[in-house]
């Protein structure tokens, strides 16, 4: 854990910066047997439950289509819906702020908290605030942000990073959680009880007591939102533990940071998502705690409400005709739970709070192809398509992955901070580009292809067990196939008399 001048401990969203490219981080994870066992067990359990919950509805395919269509329609006219949202929130007594990027959003929130004179805030689990590294920004200003979602608490106490959208501590098992509680709770507030075991009920009770103090004391609450209904200016938070309800109702001031793509035009639209989300995410028919609020109300809940609308790369993403479908995402995490790559690589390898298939298409778009990490993410997939199959808003993740691969190797037109720019092909792909060109040339000249096959078959007895250079990546773990004495083409020419 790092400590800044104020003595405020903080776990680092900043730690995502400078992370190695996906293949290297993933390789480390594949060697961690405990991590792989934890992930395998957890994802397979949720996967099976989701499949059952979805199979209960015979109109699932239509619901899914409706979800995708509503999101697409809304995104097409997002500017219009956002203005309506702003008007409605303002009418209901809230204040709306616009943040172009992470730094601006952090500045707005920090100033708002400072203005209350408070040094502590309680937080509802929120992806947007992780994306912008809000906790760290607040810590810099001497403000402590307490995570109140059980899994987020585990991550925060462990000075760790989340590795799953829905279950941020999915990489931890019960024993590890017990140790974290025992060792770390005291420095954040109420210590863990003596003799704490790894029984889930005891762990939950320890967390409950630790958090209760904070709920009752906090004057400022921070949240994100799953949806924002433009027609009434209503925000919606969907959660399972009730901690969100506490944060949204007890404090005097509530500040919500929400990505602009979370807008839905009407309550009728919301209805579709309140069916799609719980079944896809927790495999529940209905979500346990759904909190909705519209501005402020006298004598009921927070008296001051601020909404910070976050862009941070979303408008740029919207400008990409293929890539924009990533903005339909409702963060259910179904794609993570079915992803064979996520299961083996773990969430941290994706270098952002958005891991798994959705992270592989969202991070390179929100941040741009800014570093070797972002450039490696579109390749973090075998294109098996399991993610697309389960996605409740039908995001064709493989299509976007291939599209982004093209951006990496061929460059092309992108929008960065609202300006159309042409980016150059990534340098590290030069050798690969030459190889692909050569392969294409050979395939486009069957005579050359035939000569290549002839050389291959003449050298068939060489069949090495280990290849040098890039070929090693294959032969380290796999045998090469045996090369036949005669290609199909030659067999055909010999037996059917065709000319090849």
């Amino acid at each position: 854990m790092s400590r800044d001048g104020t003595g405020v401990p903080h776990s680092g969203g900043a730690a995502y910066l400078g992370m190695p490219a996906f293949p290297r981080a993933a390789e480390t994870a594949t060697r961690d047997d405990r991590l792989r066992a934890n992930l395998r067990h957890a994802t397979h359990t949720i996967r099976a439950k989701r499949a059952r919950a979805v199979a209960e509805l015979d109109d699932w395919a239509r619901l899914r289509q409706a979800g995708a269509a509503i999101k697409d329609r809304t995104l097409r006219h997002l500017d219009h819906h956002l203005v309506r949202l702003e008007e409605a929130v303002t009418r209901a007594g809230g204040t709306v702020h616009w943040a172009a990027d992470a730094a601006e959003a952090n500045r707005i929130v920090t100033d708002l908290v400072r203005a209350t004179g408070e040094r502590e805030v309680v937080k509802v689990k929120s992806m947007a605030t992780q994306e912008i590294g809000l906790n760290e920004a607040l810590a810099e200003a001497g403000i402590r942000a307490y995570e109140t979602d059980l899994a987020e608490l585990i991550v925060q106490l462990g000075d760790d990073l989340p590795s799953h959208i829905l279950v941020p501590a999915i990489h931890r098992n019960r024993g590890e959680i017990r140790d974290i509680f025992r060792d770390r709770m005291a420095s954040w507030g109420r210590p863990a009880p003596e003799g704490l075991t790894d029984r889930p009920a005891e762990l939950a009770e320890a967390a409950r007591r630790h958090l209760r103090e904070k709920f009752l004391r906090a004057k400022v609450g921070l949240s994100g939102a799953n949806f924002m209904v433009a027609e009434t200016g209503t925000l919606v938070v969907v959660e399972s533990e009730g901690n969100g309800r506490m944060c949204l109702t007890l404090p005097e001031t509530l500040i919500s940071v929400v990505g602009i793509e979370k807008t839905v035009p009407t309550w009728r639209d919301l209805e579709v998502f309140l069916q799609l989300l719980p079944r896809s995410s927790t495999a529940e028919r209905m979500n346990p705690y759904t909190s909705m609020w519209t501005g402020t109300a006298d004598g009921d809940g927070p008296r001051v409400f601020h909404l910070v609308l976050l862009d941070n790369g979303r408008t740029d993403t919207l400008a990409d005709e293929v890539g924009r479908q990533a903005l339909r995402c409702i963060r259910c995490s179904a794609c993570l739970n079915v992803c064979p790559v996520y299961e083996r690589a773990g969430g941290h390898a994706y270098g952002s709070p958005y891991p798994g298939p959705i992270g592989a298409i969202l991070t390179p778009q929100l941040r741009g192809l800014a570093s070797p990490l972002e450039e490696s993410l579109p390749y973090a997939s075998s294109l098996c398509g399991a993610c697309f199959e389960v996605c409740p808003v039908a995001i064709d993740i493989p299509e976007v992955l291939v599209h982004l691969r093209e951006r990496v190797v061929e460059g092309g037109e992108v929008t960065i901070r609202g300006t159309r720019t042409t980016i150059k092909p990534a340098k590290r792909h030069t050798a690969e580009r030459a190889a692909m060109r050569a392969a294409r040339w050979t395939f486009d000249h069957p005579g050359a292809l035939r000569r290549g096959q002839w050389i291959l078959s003449r050298s068939r007895r060489l069949r090495p067990r280990r290849l040098p250079g890039p070929g090693r990546a294959w032969t380290d773990t796999r045998e090469l196939p045996a090369v036949p004495a005669e290609s199909f083409r030659d067999w055909w020419a010999r037996t059917r008399g065709g000319t090849a």
Partner: protein
């Protein structure tokens, strides 16, 4: 009916046995097949790695090679999916770049006549019993592109269930990717190998002598891991099983 065989570059160069099996199977079923030698590769390796422009000549080549055929049959789920799903995208991409409709037209001609082998057998020829004999225990791995892009469903299984002497063994986690994924296998070798060895463990648990798929590229990976681990399980393409007869038993 004029039927062309698209053997695919992987089968042409590395698994000619599979191509020969398709020819003998179809001929046994009374279908005369033709092998236009102008064919080569569908372009999948380039397309999936991000080199869309490099695939354009191969789209043209495919469309021209099979211009006069009513059907194109291919023993590869992923190559059939490449044609069906991605050729129209390549066409649309060229149009969006202001290069006319020529590629879109090539794609539109190629897509409806392209069939993966088991689709052709079940949907076009209407057979599930191809009169095959294969006296072995077999487990079937449904490859991702066959399963999710083409939607082959139970076609391969129905064909296998009718093979005399064949005993089908259920594969645990059958629908999970084997970890091949084209260039994924070398770009993310650790994860690819981890997926491959999990798949091979599941194959071993079935106790089958043979693991079978509709795609030799996945089998190359699965077979490569099996061989490295010293497993006796043999990877065999479904065409070779369906082509087997009592006279040809190996």
């Amino acid at each position: 009916m004029r039927v062309g065989l698209f053997v695919t570059c992987v089968n042409d160069s590395l698994y000619p046995r599979t191509g020969r099996a398709v020819v003998s199977l179809l001929e046994r079923l009374g279908v005369r097949v033709d092998f236009p030698t102008a064919q080569s590769c569908c372009g999948q390796p380039m397309f999936n790695t991000g080199y869309r422009h490099e695939t354009e000549p191969l789209v043209r080549r495919y469309a021209a090679a099979f211009r006069d055929h009513d059907y194109v049959v291919t023993p590869s789920g992923s190559c059939a999916a490449m044609v069906r799903d991605n050729y129209p995208r390549i066409g649309a991409g060229a149009e969006a770049e202001g290069r006319g409709t020529e590629l879109s037209e090539a794609a539109a001609g190629a897509v409806p006549k392209t069939y993966e082998l088991t689709e052709f057998l079940v949907d076009v020829l209407g057979v599930t019993d191809v009169g095959a004999y294969f006296p072995h225990t077999v487990t079937y791995h449904p490859t991702c592109h066959g399963l999710r892009m083409l939607g082959l469903g139970d076609r391969p299984r129905r064909l296998l269930e009718h093979v005399e002497g064949l005993e089908l063994r259920e594969l645990d986690g059958a629908e999970e990717c084997c970890g091949f994924g084209g260039t994924f296998a070398v770009k993310n070798p650790a994860v690819s190998a981890a997926m491959g060895s999990d798949k091979c463990r599941a194959v071993a648990r079935t106790g089958a002598e043979v693991v079978c798929t509709v795609d030799n590229s996945c089998l190359m990976h699965i077979g490569g891991v099996l061989a490295r681990e010293g497993s006796p399980v043999r990877p065999v393409h479904i065409a070779e099983i369906l082509a087997g007869t009592k006279d040809s038993v190996r």
